[in-house]
Amino acid sequence: MVNAAMEYDYTVSKWFAYLSIIFGIIGMVVGVLIAFQMAYPELNNLFGQYGTFSRLRPIHTNVVAFGFTLSGIWAAFYYISQRVLKVSIRENSVVHGIAKLHFFLYVILAAGLVVSLLLGITTSKEYAEMEWPLDILTVVVWILFGLALFGLIGMRREKTLYISMWYFIAFFLGVAMLYLFNNMEVPTYFVTGMGKWYHSVSMYAGTNDALVQWWYGHNAVAFVFTVPIVAMIYYFLPKESGQPVYSYKLSLLSFWGLMFVYLWAGGHHLIYSTVPDWMQTMGSIFSVILILPSWGSAINMLLTMKGEWNQLKESPLIKFMVLASTFYMLSTLEGPIQAIKSVNALAHFTDWIIGHVHDGTLGWVAFMIIAATLHMAPRYYKREIYSKKLMEMQFWLQTTGIVLYFSSMWIAGITQGMMWRAVDQYGNLAYSFIDTVTVLHPYYTIRAIGGLLFVIGLFMWAYNYVKTMQSGKILEKEPAFASPMGA
């Protein structure tokens, strides 16, 4: 049926995995630096203008979200899609060429992004900071990814698309739509002769701009941090544990639920702002409804482990994935709570929001990407994972880091919110801004230490990965389920 010499080709998948490790380390080292800057402001002066919080913060968010996460997702995509479609990308040289071009242009784009942000060139729209020339390159990269995705689907031997493929398709379409609409911009030089050639202003103004921005901003969380990561867990957890997904029907229902509900929730970023009240209410309500499809997927994953919970004790890879889905449940409950109007009145603009973002991204997104790369490594190199013990240590160190991170931010955020709102008997504000800064100092320090623990874990991950490549015990044949690990 299939040419005997033919096998899955992981070239592009591997390249993306390397990038993911590199970007993970860069993005999160910068994150730890700026976390320490919050606690110790003199650290802002280390590298002149290039080392200030304001310059580095967008580099942290962009490199982690669009460097580390996207690379990890694409590493997994080029691996999973071949396997569940039962087709090798090598069977079609055009699709393989497109995949390679996708990688190379993406590297150029990422370099352009980091350099331009370091130089302070930005549109000032959060998570959409790239100026128009880079936006155009992004569109090209995205089209190449789409061609590879649909190219592989077109070549498939398996007629049915596994649930992960539906999520990857949604990832492609969702981001394409969001990105195009939020990055509609007018290049100032070419239209008015004003400013540098690369500068632009948004096509939308005022409240409309805010609405489009947060429709995009929140759905970037949906279609970059959620949808493709769900695609990954639906493949890697069943495969690593050897258990088919608990309910395939539930996975379908959750998929359509998530697709329908997520797009309407972005309004919760603009509660008590100048957008119409009904939009704020809609954002709030849809955020609460979002618990259902999110928990549908997460519970489905936990139930997949039914009768096999001993694996949680035995395998650090299963630990990473089970904790990832647990953190997914935590943050998809926390988000809706913060989106309730009365809670939002306290939580908005405080560190509680930063805590929420990080229990989701560190606990769910990063843990899934780490687990995915370590599951793929033995299949990439036909070698055992170098050290199980190191992976166990990494797991506990990073879990401690995340707990320190979000618990300190919860306390900091609620303290901050309460102090901002506190009034005396005449209705005067009880505290000035600097009072909150003084009170929050210890929590900022704890947060930075939590982040540092997580980053140390990333170095352990990179070391384990490189050692697996170089000196892991050679495997006779590809492991079917649980990944073999050296002591």
């Binding site: 049926m1 299939v2 033919m6 096998e7 899955y8 396997r83 569940v84 039962k86 087709v87 090798s88 498939r156 031997r157 398996e158 007629k159 049915t160 596994y162 649930i163 992960s164 639906y234 493949y235 069943p238 495969k239 050897g242 088919p244 997904v245 309910s247 395939y248 029907k249 379908l252 229902l253 359509w256 639920g257 389920f481």
Partner: protein, 70 residues
């Protein structure tokens, strides 16, 4: 102003009802097609486990090579 608010309230109620009907119909559809034997959704869970290049596809795609085999 009262009229438009009333209209909004009715629209909101019926739209919610409509969405609930759609959601439950989809669930009923999934279970009914399994019961009737038109489609066994749960077998697709195996796609992640049995994923070798030479594994037998659950539902083979019509390609040139398998048409020739027929």
């Amino acid at each position: 102003m009262e009229n438009i608010r009333e209209l909004q309230a009715y629209a909101y109620f019926f739209f919610t009802l409509f969405l609930v009907v759609i959601l439950y119909s989809y669930i009923v559809h999934l279970y009914r097609s399994e019961k009737k034997g038109t489609r066994d959704y749960e077998q697709y869970g195996k796609l992640a486990l049995d994923d070798e290049l030479d594994s037998k596809p659950i539902e083979p795609q019509e390609t040139k090579e398998n048409k020739e085999q027929k």
